[in-house]
């Protein structure tokens, strides 16, 4: 079972065209845990493809003219923490800072986070709130899939066997955005509940995404559209009753489970509190910046 080290996207396309028993290896922070604990097994006919050797997958393109941040799938968490990416997509940076430890953020990639399709994926939650899309590439061509439609359940996605994630296209949204999560400590935790909120006074849009409260990251559409109309964008305020209604809709769109990390009822409660605090914080921040 050899390991292939393609050094270009063209090479990668050809490898995926020729072979079907392929394991794409990015940061390895999830895959190796499975191998070490025996829940993932490699067979001798598997071909491991080392994505780290494809430098093109680590490019970052910040295009303020078309208001798009194009993040190569191989961009690592530590590269998302500060600088121009933090300015362009603050909630993505905030989510990156909550992922694992420095060691994990050195290895793990944004493409890997999307591909792994964990219901708790911190980066995915931010990307859904930002209405980002996944650019899937194969020898057949390229297609865009909204991040919110990419995962179909825990660890299952719409990716085809010959495709790979080339990049994530993240719209640059004016206004305020935030990501928040609850876990059992402040570092190194898989979230018990998480939420990302994007507030854009310019386009008068509120978008809410929820993590760890369903089989995939949830785009809370009913709550988002209610909030969009309920918020008075001229004064950056929302009535208490309307905010309570947003929280109610958030909780209705959640479908969490009981597991070793938390209970469904706690998650339902917590995710509402997170969204409420994020919206309050966001509106306060917008008001202060005017």
């Amino acid at each position: 079972m050899p390991i292939a080290h393609p050094d270009s996207i063209e090479d990668l396309k050809e490898i995926l065209r020729a072979d079907t028993s392929i394991v794409l290896l990015a940061g390895g922070t999830d895959f190796m845990v499975g191998l070490n604990h025996g829940s993932t097994r490699l067979e001798s006919d598997h071909l491991i493809v080392d994505l780290r050797s494809v430098a093109e997958l680590s490019t970052v393109e910040l295009d303020y003219r078309s208001k798009m941040l194009r993040l190569g799938a191989g961009v690592r968490w530590n590269d998302l923490l500060s600088g121009p990416i933090e300015d362009a997509a603050p909630c993505l940076s905030q989510s990156a800072r909550t992922v694992g430890s420095h060691q994990i953020r050195t290895a793990g990639t944004i493409g890997g986070n999307v591909a792994t399709a964990s219901p708790a994926g911190d980066g995915v939650c931010a990307l859904v709130a930002l209405d980002a899309s996944v650019v899937l590439t194969s020898h057949r061509g390229q297609r865009n899939v909204a991040v919110r439609d990419f995962a179909t359940g825990p660890k299952t996605t719409v990716i085809e066997k010959d495709e790979f994630i080339e990049r994530i296209d993240v719209p640059i949204v004016n206004g305020w955005q935030g990501y928040s999560k609850i876990g059992t400590r402040n570092a190194m935790v898989i979230s018990v509940a998480g939420a990302a909120v994007v507030l854009s006074p310019d386009s008068q849009i509120c978008r809410i995404a929820l993590g760890s409260v369903g089989p995939t990251i949830i785009a809370a559409d009913s709550a988002s559209s209610f909030a969009t109309t309920a918020i008075d964008w001229n004064t950056s305020s929302v009535s208490t009753d309307d905010l309570d209604q947003v929280v109610q809709l958030v909780r209705e769109s959640a479908s969490p489970i009981n597991d070793h990390r938390s209970t469904a009822s706690y998650r339902t409660h917590a995710v509402g509190v997170l969204v409420k605090r994020l919206i309050e914080q966001g509106l306060r921040s917008i008001k202060e910046s005017v």
């Binding site: 079972m1 390991i3 290896l25 922070t29 993932t40 491991i48 694992g100 420095h102 060691q103 994990i104």
Partner: protein
């Protein structure tokens, strides 16, 4: 151009020297190869899921958990382990001076993480230190003396610069 490497027999560059690895098992982590094939037992294995940091090494200068690295995939990389620091660096001396060690199991990982922090950020505040060491668990010390030790190392480097 794509090149392929063998999963079971390969060569690693550790602390500046080449090491031949024979008959590693499918999917072996860098940690297990370092310990069981190369005989470098400084990097410790505990959780093998990236939670405890006791296996921390530098991979091309970046701090990673060696348990989460597929050994056969890093044949082109430069690996530095705790053995590569030599045993008497300023950070290691500071750990000794401050008594930042009890059972010692976490020490190699913590020394690697602290060394990497100081190389990235020569003037970390206490929050920077705590964040940089968040991925390294110690079950003995309660961390107080470890934080002291990092501060001693920071101060020492600043003094040497003056």
């Amino acid at each position: 151009m794509t090149y392929t490497s063998d999963e079971k027999h390969f060569e690693l560059t550790v602390n500046g020297s080449k090491h031949q690895v024979k008959d590693s098992f499918l999917g072996a982590s860098l940690l297990s190869v370092l310990r069981d094939h190369i005989g470098m037992t400084g990097s410790k294995g505990a959780c093998e899921e990236g939670e405890c940091g006791s296996c921390s090494v530098l991979l091309d200068g970046n701090l990673v958990c060696s348990c989460l690295v597929l050994a056969a995939s890093v044949t082109q990389s430069s690996i530095v382990t705790i053995e590569g620091l030599g045993g008497a660096t300023d950070v290691q001396q500071a750990f000794v001076e401050c008594g930042a060690i009890q059972c010692g199991f976490c020490s190699p990982g913590l020394v690697m993480a602290a060394t990497n922090l100081l190389d990235r950020n020569p003037d970390p505040d206490v929050d920077d230190v705590r964040e940089a060491l968040a991925g390294n668990l110690c079950r003995c010390t309660g961390y107080g003396r470890i934080l002291d030790a990092v501060q001693v190392a920071v101060d020492g480097r600043k003094r040497n610069k003056l």
